[in-house]
């Protein structure tokens, strides 16, 4: 499993608890870390959010965007633990992952730090309220909301 290269959790370290597959999670009542694959329903975790410290959402192929929805769904449901994106991740995905609520990134191959820094700062503002990224969308700024 790839290491966490970027962590956006102030003053914390990446969670090191062993992860279990979603299919095993409901049975394994001691598990605090779980992995969700693209075809799996993130909402299955909603009843168990309080015992989770890590949800790892995999991106086996960077062209498969289901993980973006999984992340927002978990954050919208109130999940506050580490939300890790792992897999085939390039620098150009970073800002979008962050906006969908990921706060830890574990790419298969480590990313160039200077490029990553540039990519994370690309967007001066945002058009949408994803809510989970804490950013005010442009329409809110326009109308003083």
């Amino acid at each position: 499993m790839a290491d966490v290269q970027f962590l956006f959790r102030e003053g914390e370290e990446a969670v090191s608890a062993p992860t279990v597959a979603l299919s095993a999670f409901a049975e394994d009542t001691n598990a605090t870390a779980v992995v969700i694959e693209p075809g799996e329903d993130a909402r299955a975790l909603i009843p168990h959010l309080d015992r989770l410290s890590l949800v790892e959402v995999t991106f086996p192929a960077f062209t498969d965007g289901r993980g973006f929805s999984s992340a927002r769904i978990l954050r919208e449901a109130g999940y506050t633990g580490e939300l890790r994106a792992s897999g085939d991740i390039g620098v150009d995905m970073l800002s979008h992952l962050h906006r969908c609520g990921f706060d830890a990134i574990a790419p298969n191959a480590p990313l160039d730090l200077a490029q990553a820094e540039t990519a994370l700062k690309v967007w001066p503002q945002v058009y949408q309220a994803t809510v989970v990224d804490g950013r005010k969308p442009i329409w809110a700024l326009r109308h003083g909301l």
């Binding site: 693209p38 960077f62 062209t63 498969d64 965007g65 289901r66 973006f68 929805s69 927002r72 919208e76 390039g90 150009d92 800002s95 979008h96 992952l97 906006r99 969908c100 160039d112 490029q115 540039t118 990519a119 690309v122 967007w123 001066p124 503002q125 945002v126 058009y127 949408q128 309220a129 994803t130 809510v131 990224d133 969308p137 442009i138 329409w139 700024l141 326009r142 109308h143 909301l145």
Partner: protein, 551 residues
Amino acid sequence: MYLYDHYDQAMVDARVAEFRDQTRRRIEGTLSEEKFRPLRLQNGLYLQLHAYMLRVAVPYGTLSGSQMKMLGDIADKYDRGYGHFTTRQNIQYNWIKLEDTPDILADLASVEMHAIQTSGNCIRNISADQYAGATADELIDPRPYAELLRQWSSFHPEFLALPRKFKICVIASDTDRAAMRLHDIGIQIVKNEAGEIGAAFYVGGGMGRTPIIAPLVKAFVPLDELITYSEACLRVYNRYGRRDNKYKARIKILVHELGLEEYSRQVEEEFAHLQTLNIEPPLAELERIKTFFADPAYETGLSDDLDLSNPAFAAWVKNNTAAHKTPGYAIVNISLKPVKVLADGTKEAGIPGDATGEQIRIMADLAKTYSFDELRVTHTQNIVLPHVRKADLFTVWEKLVAAELAEANLDKITDIIACPGLDYCTLANARSIPVAQKIAERMADKAEEIGELKLKISGCINACGHHHAGHIGILGVDRKGLENYQLLLGGCEGADTSLGKIIGPGFDEDGIVGAVEKATQVYLANKEGEERFLDTYRRIGMNPFKEAIYG
């Protein structure tokens, strides 16, 4: 026309900087072609047979004179002196260099334009009725809603790696000029029984290899829930749309496989959840956008009289202008489907949708002087001057004649929609352009007698040329290494949307031209009263055509 504020400009400028950086990394070699591909596609850059092709967005088909002028200048500066207007109300340049692309995007950004999401598996440029704001038959101008959706869909972080491309269209009249129900989401702005304005959502339409007319998923979405409902539609698709087979990945397949009821139920559930999150822009934002689409300062008390003593002008007025909502004004269509008569009497048809840099600048000037600085691109690959005083029509026509832009053939058999086909496109199985030209040349003399006949040609099953929706459709296929053309009859976009049916075995290039001619002869022999080709076909059915063509 919508004008950018500093936020919009900063977003587009940021995109240019991002793409400049990505292109640099690609050229340096730190970004592989595999990883670069989706990034360049989401900036409209395709790698075609001979060169890169850049597709520039014309949001909801509306642009200003200075924007149009820039499109002409780009054709001259970076391409071979022409551009190609497309069925998605955009413009494409076919001979682009990768290293020039960031500069082209910067030039576009200087006139509030871009190529954002004109390709790739994301929400594409939003299309709309080309007569929006000018036609008498609309409930309200649909473009403010399209602009609201443009902003929402631009760089939406959740929806940039969808199962497949996603096309949204907005109209606000019962006469559908934009093939609304052949989109992934078709929105018709409607009024409910209480007199409130809202949006009817048709979801899961599309062409391609499995053409489907979108079913109505929700009859009335209030305007202050438009974005929230759209987001619910997209989230269900992003999560459950098929990713195992790219030919089954469009939302039409998901809606079809789940069934309308189950898809609607899932969207409703997601909608109810998203409503709790306050992701909807306030109505004040819609009102702000609406102010940009207020009517221009029309003169009042103008006469509707026209001197039609010049027969060529009269024919152009009859075929290429449409009723405007304001007395004394007309909507002018500029055909990009010329058929030139040469000195020896032979005909020479142009490439459908093509215009030279000079022609593009002439149209830009005409818009500035005669149409409140506004133009439209139509999905039929023509250009519209939406607000021309009738008193100016003759002058406008004379200038168009001088620029070889006055072909009086709107919606006639020579006004052909054709995709770029095998002359340019890597996906194509057959050439479309030469077939379109041969048909136009063969049929030009008969076009007026035949009347309205929408002929649409695609060079492969992906259906960019809308062949399913043509009164006559032509589909180019590869048959044992040879180009072969199938003939379809009876398709139609619009309020009475229908899909064409294949009539029988395919033809070679000359054979398809002959088959089209025979089909028009069957129509003329059987036509009753004022029937159009499509009406006669619907009344008499396929058989008389089959007998004439294969008999």
